[in-house]
Structure formats: C-alpha cells, structure tokens
C-alpha cells in the first residue's frame, strides 16, 4: 500500500473559459477544508470490521485527529457512511434507506473485503459488494483492514473532498435509482460484477 507513490490528482488544467475567479476558488478551499476535517461518520458495522473500526476510533489510533470523533448514529446528521462488514440481502433495503436519509453532501466508504466485494461469502445470502446498492467513494481492502488501512482510506476521502469544486454541479446531484428495478447500475453489470472467479468457480455445489 505504501510502496507506490500516490497518484497526483490535482493537476492544474488551464482552460480560460471554465476558470473560476479568485473568490470562488478561495471559498472552495475554505469550505472543503472545513468539510474534510469534520466528516461525521455514520457507522454501519455488521461484522468483525466494526471491531477494527472501533479500534480506529479509540484512543490508540484516535479517529478524532481527523475530525471524526463524533459518531453520528442518526443518518440525518452524518456525512460519511462507513459500512464495516458483510451486508446480507435482508439488510440491503436498510442500508439503502440509511443512505437516502443522509443529506448532501455525503460520501460512502466500503470498509473491508465483504463490504467491497462480498469476500468469501459468495452465497445465497450476502450482497456481493455494497456498490451494487449505494454509490461508494473509497474501498478499503483487508479482512479486516488494520486501523492504519482505514485511516488511509479516510485520508483518501479527505483528498477527494478537498478537490471538489462548487461550480461542478454533478457532485451534489442526488443519484436516483432506476424507478423500475430500484438499482443504481444496470442488472447485467451487477451479474457480471458478482460473477465468481478463481477457485470459487468450482464451488457451486448445485445438483449435488
């Protein structure tokens, strides 16, 4: 994780027609600085990742250094949804509802392999990655990730927040799911993403 240099996203593009003025960019900087350093997390802990998340929030690793000491157990006051742990299909409408109750601006972190991809639980009961239910900004790998890993993910999210610009209208647009299927991404893509790979191809166990 720490071996490759982090890619530099904030490359200056020079396009005179779309440049904002001095006031707008400074205001952007101020607002983003404030937001990035006071992200209030909505903890959605369902499994062992939540234990690591608690460790991250506790004194040794101290999430409060990033302005996140205030766990928001109400989605109405939260900025970032941290999904820590596997999400079964039974919980899918719950996390979707929590996400929709959060006000803009909002971000989501999929913490750990289960929340990101379903992990080893390639079975009838577990959602194959929460990005099939809600849009996700940062994926933290690991099973479970160490607190350092989660903090790296949080710092990546802060980078993302700091590089947002007010005149970019796409950022704050609330994504609406497809009214018919209630999905954000088309069904064939979900099927393709959830396709088993590697050794698990042979673990169908159907028809004995």
């Amino acid at each position: 994780m720490g071996l490759t240099p982090r890619p530099e996203h904030r490359v200056v593009e020079y396009n005179p027609s779309s440049q904002e003025g001095w006031v707008a960019t400074k205001l952007d900087f101020l607002v983003n600085w404030g937001r990035a350093n006071s992200l209030w997390p909505m903890p959605f802990g369902t499994a062992c990742c939540a234990i690591e998340f608690m460790a991250t929030a506790a004194s040794r690793f101290d999430l409060a250094r990033f302005g996140m000491e205030r766990m928001s157990f109400s989605p109405r006051q939260a900025d970032v949804l941290i999904c820590a742990g596997r999400v079964p299909f039974k919980l899918a409408p719950v996390i979707r509802r929590i996400w929709q109750q959060m006000p803009q601006p909002k971000w989501a972190i999929a913490m750990g392999a289960c929340a990101s991809s379903g992990n080893i639980f390639d079975n009838y009961a577990v959602v194959q990655g929460i990005d099939t239910i809600i849009p996700v900004d940062v994926y933290v790998p690991g099973c479970p990730p160490r607190p350092e890993g989660l903090m790296y993910g949080i710092m990546l999210l802060q980078e993302k927040v700091k590089s947002e610009r007010m005149n970019d209208k796409t950022i704050r647009a609330e994504m609406e799911p497809d009214p018919k299927s209630k999905l954000y991404i088309p069904p064939p893509v979900i099927d393709e993403l959830s396709e088993p790979f590697g050794n698990s191809v042979h673990q169908t166990r159907s028809g004995l």
Binding site: A92, P93, N123, Y124, A125, I190, R205, L208
Partner: protein
C-alpha cells in the same frame, strides 16, 4: 406450570450421593454407556422406537415420526425422566438422495444430568410434516421456525410458522436442502432487486412481542399499518 416453579439444580434428582460431574475421557465413537432413558423408552413405547445407539457418548433414539409428540411429552413429564430443557431442534439432509431427512431434538435433563438425542426420519416422497413440540417446550418456537426456514419442514401445531432468518417474501426455496445451489436460484441482480423491493419497516408485525409492547411509541403511519392487521409476509 402456572403455580410457580421450583429451582432445578443440576443433578438434584440424583440425591445426596450424586457423583460430581466429570469431563468424559476416551469416549468411543460407537458404543459405550447408554443413557438409561433409552431402555425406559423401549419399555414404554416399544412399537415407536426404531433403534437406539450411542455415538460419541450421546444416546441416539430413532423414533417413529407420528409418535414424537407422545414420546417428548412423556420424557418431559415422567418423574423418572424429567427432560426439562430442549437445547436444539434441527434437521439433517444426507447426500444420498434416497436417504430420508432426519429431524433431531436435543433434550437435556438437568435433575438427572442426562443428555438424549431424539431423531425422526421423514421420507422424501411424502410431505415433510412433523408434530411441533411447542406445546411442551416454548423455546421450540424459534428453533422450529429456523428449521422450517432452512429445510421446509412443516411443524404441525406450531403457533406462528414463518421464516425467521430469510425474509418472508423469500421465494428461492429452502437454503440448507441439498438441491439448493450455493449461490441461490436467481441471478444476483434479481436477488438484489427482490431484496430492495422489501420495505424494511414491514418486517415488524404485531406478532413480534417487542413491537406490541412499544406500540404507543411507534410513528403514526406504522401504527396505522399495524392496526389494520397487516402481517409481515403480506
């Protein structure tokens, strides 16, 4: 049952000379000391007992499925047995497609410090039905619901036989059956679509005790919905 209850200390029916409990050592795979309840059952229900054997120190009694309720009631009520604790109700399906599905009851007698495993075999060519022991052990409620949810065995006489682990609109079948594919029957997108179509609040119905208790504190729309007699599965 209604006139109070008497505290049961483990082994209190064995008298003052009760030996202290010891961890069993060198337990053989098959055979060994049989639980005295096995012989007592043979004497009491000769025609209903198919087989008694001892596996890893626990006595298995295979009983006829239609006599389960009588046998369990006798084991619970008889003063020489006093099986006052039902620790599990579950089922087993074997890989052999011809082999019947077994329903298993784990019974524990605290006063006698005994453990007994009852098994009943349900052939697959008939509907999977067996009597519920809920009238004897109230804890069988959720255990039998789980067994129904996972295997599709109907417990006759159960007060509220609904799915318990999977959501109630789940339509893919019974996950622990051998003919159930590991990843479910539908595609991932279809599974997700069906799961998201559920209303998370509709999981609650007045059958849930905690909901009935907290009824006055619920939001108005939910109260209206519940008062209309709506149940979870509908």
């Amino acid at each position: 049952m209604s006139d109070g209850f008497e505290i049961q200390y483990p082994g209190n029916a064995l008298g003052n000379a009760a030996p202290a409990p010891v961890t069993p050592r060198d337990v053989p795979n098959r055979g060994g000391d049989q639980n005295p309840s096995g012989a007592a059952l043979r004497q009491q229900f000769a025609d209903a007992i198919e087989r008694v054997d001892v596996v890893w120190g626990v006595t298995n009694v295979y009983v006829r499925p239609d006599r389960v309720l009588d046998i369990v009631r006798w084991l619970h009520d008889d003063s020489s047995q006093r099986y006052d604790y039902l620790s599990d109700v579950t089922a087993v399906e074997y890989r052999d497609l011809e082999a019947p599905i077994e329903v298993v009851w784990h019974l524990r007698s605290l006063p006698f410090r005994r453990e007994l495993r009852l098994k009943a075999q349900l052939p697959k060519n008939k509907p999977l039905e067996i009597a519920s022991v809920w009238s004897i052990y109230k804890c069988a409620d959720w255990l039998e619901r789980e067994c129904f949810d996972m295997f599709g065995i109907r417990f006759i006489g159960h007060p509220d036989l609904r799915r318990i682990l999977m959501w109630e609109q789940y339509r893919e079948g019974f996950p622990l059956r051998k003919d159930f594919p590991l990843r479910g029957r539908f595609s991932r997108a279809e599974q997700l679509r069906q799961a998201l179509a559920a209303n998370p609040e509709a999981r609650y119905s007045m059958e849930e005790l905690s909901i009935a208790d907290a009824f006055e504190d619920l939001p108005t729309d939910m109260r209206k919905r519940l008062k209309g007699g709506e149940r979870t599965g509908e």
